[in-house]
Amino acid sequence: MSAAFVLAQLLNGLQLGLMLFLLAAGLTLIFGIMGLVNLAHGSFYMIGAFVAATLQAWTGHFALALAGGVGAAIILGIAVESALLRPLYRRGHLDQVLVTFGLILFFNEATRLLWGSGGLSMQPPAVLASEIQLLPGLPYPSYRLAISGVGCLVVVLLSLLLGRTRIGMLIRAGARDHAMVSALGVNIKLVYSLVFGLGAMLAGLAGVMTGPIIAVEVGMGEAILIQTFVVVVLGGIGSVKGSFVAALAVGLADSLGRAFLPLLLGGFLAPTTVSAVAPAAASTVIYLLMAATLLWRPQGLLGHRR
C-alpha cells in the first residue's frame, strides 16, 4: 500500500468532512440559538442543487449557477423561517420535528413536480473538469480539491464572522446559552432570521458544490442529513468549532472506514466473509464513533452542558 494511496484517502475524507461541515455549521447554530430541531435542513441542500443545475443548463455558467442556487436556498430559508417556524420556537421539540418532517415531504414532492423524477445533470466548471497530478503517482480530480478549497474558505470566513463581529459574538453567545441573546436585548427576530438564512445559505452552497459530483435528485438531502446530525451531536450542539472538528472526524472515519476496513478484515477473514461483513461494518463506523464519544462526553466534543 503506497503513501500516495493513504494520502489520497485522507484527502477524500477531508473533502467529505468539509462538505458535512457546511451543512452542520448552520444546523448547530439553529439548534443552539433557537432550540429548533430542523429536519428540513437537507431541503435547502437539495433546492440549492436543483436551482443551480437548472441555471447551469440555461446559461452554461457555473458561477451564475452557484449564485442562483445559494440565493434560492437563502430566500427559501428565510421564507420558511418567518412563515412557518417562528411560531414553533416556543413550542416543544415534538412539534418542531413534525412540522419540519412535513416540510421534507412537501419539498421533495414539490421538487419532483417541478423538475420531474429523473434528476438533473450538473457539470463542474470547465477549468476544473480534469484531474491534476498532486504528487507523482497521486492524480486527483481538481474539482474535488476546489470543493475542499471552498470548504476551507467558509471555515475562515465563518470564524471571522463569529469571532470578530458584534453580531457574530451575539450569535455565539446565544448558541451557547439560549437565554443570553434575549438578555442582551437585541432584536431577536432579526438574529433568528439571520442565523436561519446563514444556515440555509451554507446548506445551499454545499448542495451546489456537490451537485457536479453526485446525482441531483429528489431526496438527496435526507441521505446526508443524518450524517450531519451525527456531526452536530458529536461536536456538541451550538458549537461551530465542535462541528468543524466532528465533521472532519466523521468525514475521515467514513472514508477511511470504507477504504481500509475491507483490507483490515481481509487480513484474517475469508474473502467471501469480508465482502459480506465489510460493507455493514463500514457503514456503522461513524455511529460507533458517536456512541463512544457520548459515553465519554455526553455534551459532545466541544459542547457545553445545558
Binding site: M1, G116, S117, G118, A129, I214, A215, G219, R258, A278
Partner: protein, 391 residues
C-alpha cells in the same frame, strides 16, 4: 346458517355454469414504483404499457381492458398491500408491471399461494427463476444475474484478466456480481459493495486506482449510480479502465441526470431502440411521437408485457378463470415482441439475445445508446436448471 346455505347454493350454481366461459372484460392490476428516486423508471413503464393499450384499441385479447395502477413506493410491504387491494377490491384478473425484484418477490410470496396470475415485466427474483418457479408467474424481463453473466463471458472473450467489481449492497447487486463471476471465472482484482444511500465514492475510486484492474464492472441502477458514474469520469478512470454494466443503468431515463458524463460508457442489455424489427420500429416511433424521447429498456419490457397479455388472453379465448392456463398460454404465445421473436424457458423467463450498447452523442447533440454488437444469442438464464417445471 342461512348465509352458509346461500354460499353453497352459489357455488353449486357456478359449478353447473362451470367450464370455459369467456369474460366480457379484463382488469389489469398494474404495480410499479411511482414515488421516490425510482419513479422515473416506473413512469416509463406506465407510459409504454399505456401506449401498447392504445395500439390495441384498449383491448387485451379482444376484451375491453381497464388498467388500475398502484404505486409500491419501492417498499415490499406496500407492494403486498397494493396487490391485495388490486385483486380483492378492484377485482383485477391478473397483476402486471413490477419493478424492483425484492418488491416483486414479496408480492409473489403473498399472491401466488392464493392462485393469482402475475404476468410481469420487471426483474425476476432469483428464487422465482429457480426452485420456486411457478405456473402462475411469467416475466418479459430477466433476473439480474443473467446480463452480468453475459458481461463476464464477453469480457473473458475480450481477454480481460483482472476485473474489479463494485456493486450496490442490495440482493440484486450481489446476484449481479455473482452472475458476473460465474461468467468470468477466476479471481477478481477487487470486490466492493457500496451503501444504499452512498453518494460519495472517492474512497472506492481511489482503491480502484490502487488496484489498477483491466476493467471495472458495476451494478448501481439507482440515483447513487449516477453519482458513481460521474465520479468515475471525473477521476479520469473512464479513459484508462473500461467500465461495464447493464444498459438500464445508462439509458434514456438516466441521460438528464448524467449529462455528458455518459458518453462512451459501455453496457450490456437485452434490447435497444435500434433493434431492427417491425414491432420495435413501430413502438420506438410511436413512443417518441407521444413522449418526445426514446423509450427505455424497462419501457420496452412493459410494452412487451401488454402484448404478451394480449396474446395470452386471445389464446385462451377470453377465459380468465383458470390462471395457470392463462400463464401457460402466455409462455407459448406467438406475440410480436419488440425484441423480435422470443420464447420462454421452462422457468417462464425469456430466452433472449444480449447486445453491447455504447453511449454516444448524435449529430443533433442528443445522447443515445448505439447498438455496437451482439454479445450473445438465445441465452438461458443460470437459474432455469433449478426450476422443476416441465411443459
Amino acid at each position: 346458517m342461512r348465509a352458509t346455505r346461500l354460499v353453497v347454493a352459489y357455488a353449486t350454481l357456478m359449478l353447473l355454469a362451470g367450464g370455459a366461459q369467456a369474460a366480457d372484460h379484463i382488469t389489469i392490476g398494474y404495480s410499479t414504483t411511482l414515488t421516490g428516486p425510482l419513479a422515473v423508471e416506473g413512469e416509463q413503464m406506465v407510459n409504454a404499457f399505456s401506449l401498447a393499450l392504445e395500439h390495441l384499441d384498449n383491448k387485451l385479447g379482444g376484451l375491453p381492458a381497464t388498467l388500475v395502477i398502484a404505486d409500491d413506493q419501492a417498499k415490499p410491504q406496500v407492494g403486498v398491500q397494493n396487490a391485495h387491494r388490486l385483486l380483492e377490491r378492484d377485482k383485477a384478473d391478473l397483476l402486471a408491471g413490477m419493478l424492483l425484484s425484492n418488491v416483486t418477490e414479496a408480492i409473489l410470496n403473498a399472491v401466488l399461494p392464493e392462485g393469482a396470475a402475475v404476468i410481469a415485466s420487471g426483474g425476476v427474483p432469483a428464487p422465482y427463476a429457480g426452485k420456486d418457479c411457478s405456473r402462475n408467474f411469467i416475466s418479459t424481463f430477466w433476473n439480474t444475474d443473467t446480463p452480468y453473466e453475459q458481461i463476464g463471458l464477453y469480457l473473458k472473450r475480450q481477454g480481460i484478466k483482472r476485473p474489479y467489481v463494485i456493486g450496490l449492497n442490495v440482493q440484486p447487486g450481489r446476484d449481479a456480481l455473482n452472475g458476473f463471476k460465474l461468467g468470468m471465472g477466476g479471481e477478481m482484482a477487487g470486490e466492493t459493495y457500496t451503501r444504499v444511500d452512498q453518494s460519495e465514492f472517492a474512497s472506492e475510486l481511489t482503491d480502484i486506482r490502487r488496484v489498477a484492474p483491466d476493467a471495472v464492472v458495476w451494478f448501481n441502477p439507482g440515483g447513487t449510480g449516477i453519482a458513481f458514474l460521474k465520479q468515475y469520469v471525473q477521476a479520469g478512470l473512464i479513459n484508462s479502465v473500461p467500465l461495464y454494466g447493464m444498459t438500464i443503468q445508462t439509458d434514456e431515463s438516466k441521460f438528464p441526470a448524467l449529462g455528458d458524463a455518459a458518453i462512451g460508457v459501455k453496457s450490456v442489455g437485452n434490447w435497444s431502440p435500434e433493434l431492427d424489427n417491425d414491432s420495435n420500429r413501430h413502438f420506438v416511433a410511436a413512443y417518441r411521437a407521444k413522449y418526445g424521447r426514446l423509450p427505455t429498456t424497462l419501457g420496452a419490457m412493459a410494452y412487451d408485457n401488454a402484448l404478451l397479455i394480449d396474446a395470452a388472453v386471445r389464446a385462451v379465448g377470453g377465459d380468465l378463470s383458470d390462471k395457470a392456463k392463462l400463464v401457460a398460454a402466455a409462455r407459448r404465445a406467438d406475440f410480436a415482441s419488440v425484441r423480435g421473436k422470443i420464447r420462454f424457458n421452462n422457468n417462464n423467463v425469456p430466452i433472449q439475445n444480449f447486445y453491447l450498447n455504447v453511449v454516444e452523442k448524435g449529430p443533433d447533440g442528443v445522447l443515445r445508446n448505439k447498438l455496437a454488437a451482439t454479445v450473445a444469442s438465445e441465452v438461458s438464464d443460470p437459474h432455469a436448471k433449478d426450476c422443476p417445471l416441465t411443459w
